[in-house]
């Protein structure tokens, strides 16, 4: 009796261990798959940008901006980035302020992206590792090499939102420990704070900036 119970208990443990190993193996495989998808997301973005930049000479500026806008929407979480950069002021902003901020922020994001993505041609990016941070975020780390030799090799971290049931989207680019997202949020918060907590002051300053960028690109 005791022996039978012992055998049953042992079998029970062995079964549990096997189930745990299988589950663990499955979890590990699922994680590895997610990391690969995140790495490929960055790889595809860079490849598409290179393609667009390679044919830039034959594109009208409207067509080029349209393609960059598509890239932004496909690969980046523009909505999340917009909200995050407004910081804690987002929560207290009215719907009207939120919509105005969304519009002007997207305009600046697109203009800045259009002006800077050509730099992708002078850099090569080699991913070195991908790590999950919790169940919603993946960091893809790598080294950017300046092909012109003017800038030393630079450590880059892409933050990729990887939420269950949603397509992966980039939310941030960190260069040598400096996050673009955090820097923008801090700058916006400082500007609002200097204007006595007035969110409209930020929207107005961004509109002025956008007008300036647009007039520069026309000249």
């Amino acid at each position: 009796m005791t022996t039978n119970l012992g055998i049953q208990t042992r079998r029970g443990f062995l079964g549990l261990a096997a189930a745990l190993l299988i589950t663990n193996g499955w979890t590990q495989n699922a994680l590895a798959d997610r990391l690969t998808v995140a790495e490929n997301h960055i790889g595809k973005l860079i490849a598409e940008l290179r393609e667009i930049e390679a044919m830039r000479g034959s594109l009208t500026s409207e067509k080029y901006r349209h393609l960059i806008a598509l890239i932004m929407e496909t690969y980046f979480d523009v909505e999340g980035i917009t909200r995050f950069t407004a910081g804690r002021y987002w929560r207290v902003a009215s719907n009207e302020q939120r919509n105005a901020y969304k519009e002007v922020f997207r305009g600046i994001l697109l203009s800045e992206a259009s002006n800077r993505f050509d730099q992708i041609l002078t850099f090569s990016f080699t991913p070195t590792k991908a790590q999950a941070r919790g169940d919603k975020l993946i960091l893809v780390t790598g080294i950017a090499k300046d092909n012109s030799g003017q800038i030393p090799d630079t450590k880059i971290v892409w933050r990729v939102a990887a939420q269950a049931g949603k397509p992966m989207k980039i939310i941030d680019l960190e260069i040598e420990n400096i996050s673009m997202l955090k820097t923008q949020q801090d700058e916006n918060a400082a500007l609002i704070k200097r204007n006595g907590g007035n969110f409209d002051a930020l929207i107005q300053a961004m509109r002025t900036r956008l007008d300036m960028i647009n007039s520069q690109s026309k000249n």
């Binding site: 030799g149 971290v157 420990n177 400096i178 996050s179 955090k182 918060a189 400082a190 961004m206």
Partner: protein, 247 residues
């Protein structure tokens, strides 16, 4: 490199000690906009002064340097890196990072053959940058307020005090004892120009494309400094502002 005499060094150390006493009460953590910047108004004035110096001296010099052959730029960059090795070795040793100290010492010794202009250890492991501000942080000294110093730029009180100690104790100063002051003194503006040239676009981006260049520079400084203090390990998103992204 300047070689202050003993009395100047003592006075500077006393000044640093006083400054450190002023740092002791300030907070260390939290988001960069909420971090200690009690002298913001004065800091902004010094920041504007530094930008003017950049307009008239550093940016044009850096632009000229960028027009020179890549070999010249790389040589200067290597030299600037090499000059910082004794400081890194000393501070690594003080923090108990013996391996980093050994790598920095080896790097300095071998590249001394070319005065650091050529990197004879290219492709080998690089030491993590360490300074006395990081040594103070590892000893538990609080970071103090954000201070923008003329020509030196913005940094925490702790980092600024650390810079002073590094400047005085840097063994490089002793090693160049026989070098005429006129020669060793030009290394400071040359280093500044080389650094400005290396990060030309990034600095111009802050200067010309920001809504608030001061706030942007302060944020970038804090993030970069925090990264060094974490030994360049990734930030913990769950305990930082990033945690709120998915709320």
């Amino acid at each position: 490199m300047m070689k202050p005499d003993h009395r100047i060094k003592t006075a500077m150390l006393a000044g640093i000690a006083l400054f450190m006493a002023g740092c002791a009460s300030s907070s260390d953590k939290g988001d960069t906009t909420a971090r200690s910047d009690p002298y913001e108004s004065a800091n902004r004035s010094v920041f504007a002064f530094n930008l003017a110096i950049d307009d008239y001296a550093l940016e044009p010099a850096a632009k000229a340097l960028r027009a020179s052959p890549n070999a010249v730029q790389m040589g200067l960059r290597n030299h600037v890196d090499w000059v910082s090795m004794p400081k890194t070795a000393l501070n690594s040793a003080l923090q108990g990072k013996t391996e980093n100290a050994a790598i920095a010492t080896l790097n300095f010794a071998i590249n001394s053959l070319t005065f650091g202009f050529a990197d004879l250890l290219e492709g080998e492991e690089r030491p993590e940058r360490e300074d006395f501000g990081q040594t103070l942080a590892s000893a538990g000294v609080e970071e103090g307020p954000y201070v923008v110093a003329p020509l030196l730029g913005g940094q925490t009180g702790r980092a600024l005090a650390g810079w002073g100690v590094d400047f005085i104790l840097n063994p490089y100063g002793q090693l160049t004892e026989g070098v005429p002051a006129a020669v060793s003194n030009v290394s400071i503006p040359i280093s500044a120009t080389s650094i400005r040239a290396t990060y030309f676009d990034a600095i111009n981006d802050v200067k010309y494309n920001s809504l608030d260049p001061y706030a942007r520079a302060r944020s970038a400084y804090y993030q970069q400094r925090d990264g060094l203090l974490r030994n360049n390990l990734p930030i913990d998103e769950t305990s930082s502002d990033f945690g709120s992204f998915f709320e």
